[in-house]
């Protein structure tokens, strides 16, 4: 096999699609082809993204089983000549904690999921379903935007909120998890923070404490968002202190 042939194997290698013998040959080539090594690194990272896309919710019992096993498994000691740097890199730590948070948000159901509507009147059900689908589509559009960015915050005890922002779509999606049910006659209201001036951005359905809401209106110049508890139906201006304030990602 020529070197040019070997070079085209970066993709197959990154996908673990080479038979054993060819893998060995390629790895040998890799050790003295810097360009190939860099390409493999990038394509392997790309493959990782394909992996993330099929994430599932693991059964809770699995964690106990793994932690039990781990408590009895001896770890490999770090190799010589390759000191392990224990100081964590902020960027990576942030990404990890963001993912941990995402795991906590597993309960945030309703993201484009199938809504079960039980209505007496079929046409009303259809209309509701159509609206739900439209909302789900709008949410998917923000989440799927090439420039979608997220930011998260704790909200009181045990609850959290994540905002997904797409500047190109000029829209934002709020995902709450574990929000305490508001008092009778009250509702959570979302706001865009236009540099200090709060602009109404929709209500969170009181029946649900974990939900995904397409924030009403454009992001515009908003630098942040907030959540307050308001009288049912919402307010034009916040009438209470925010339960959460978040800066929107740039």
């Amino acid at each position: 096999m020529t070197v040019a042939d070997l070079h085209t194997l970066t993709g197959a290698y990154a996908l673990h699609a080479l038979p054993e013998d060819e893998r060995e040959a390629f790895e040998h080539h890799l050790s003295d082809c810097e360009a190939c090594a860099q390409e493999v690194k990038e394509l392997a990272a790309t493959a990782g993204r394909l992996g993330l896309a099929v994430t599932v919710t693991p059964p809770p019992a699995m964690k106990e089983a793994v932690l039990r096993t781990v408590a009895q498994v001896r770890q490999e000691v770090p190799g010589h000549g390759h000191p392990v740097h224990h100081a964590s890199v902020p960027g990576r730590a942030r990404r990890l904690s963001r993912l941990v948070l995402a795991a906590c948000l597993a309960a945030a159901a309703g993201l484009g999921g199938v809504a079960v509507w039980q209505y007496d009147r079929a046409d009303q059900a259809r209309e509701e379903a159509r609206q739900a689908q439209d909302r789900a589509d709008a949410v998917a559009e923000v989440l799927g935007a090439p420039d979608a960015r997220t930011t998260s915050a704790r909200i009181g005890d045990g609850a959290s909120g994540t905002v997904v922002v797409s500047r190109s779509r000029d829209k934002a999606v709020f995902v709450g998890a574990g929000l305490a049910r508001p008092a009778e006659g009250k509702v959570y209201q979302l706001w865009f923070d236009d540099h200090g001036a709060m602009r109404p951005a929709g209500l969170i359905d009181s029946d649900r404490t974990a939900d995904t809401v397409l924030m009403a209106g454009r992001i515009g110049d908003a630098s942040g968002m907030g959540i307050t508890v308001e009288p049912a139906g919402g307010s034009k201006q916040p009438t209470s202190d925010p339960v959460a304030l978040m800066e929107l990602p740039a």
Partner: protein, 174 residues
Amino acid sequence: MGLVARGDQEAFGAVYDAVCGPVLGLVRSVLRDPAQSEEVAQEVLVEVWRTAAAYRENRGSAMNWVLTMAHRRAVDRVRSAQAATDREQRAALLDRTPAFDEVAEQVEARLEREQVRRCMRSLTELQRQSVSLAYYRGLTYREVAELLTVPLGTVKTRLRDGLIRLRDCLGVTA
């Protein structure tokens, strides 16, 4: 990961929470069988604990390190199992697209899924099929070529240029 490498079980718990869903999803995509997938996913997670000291930041994110390990294991398992089973079932693979509908409704997962789906659409049919069969089904490029009845060289090239297009579309830097 540094803490994990030093035997911090609490830190491992946090890493577990971050990677377990993606690991299980990926393994399940390749192996299909839920019980076997769980078993392999557990092996991978224990491996993360055992070999945490071998992780190098300069070679990519911890998530990617773990997912690479998970994919490798799943692929090894499926190939050893398939050596014994009939290969005709492979044709059925063509009908199946990645199990996007099985994903957890998590914000991050959902984001990833939408982005990957969008970028997958930007590939040619042959690129998309080749990459999907190799990655999500664990086929070798030879098997992909056989299944799609295209020359070996074509599959090699499609796997590479398909991934390159995905890399650019997803904005992956490494």
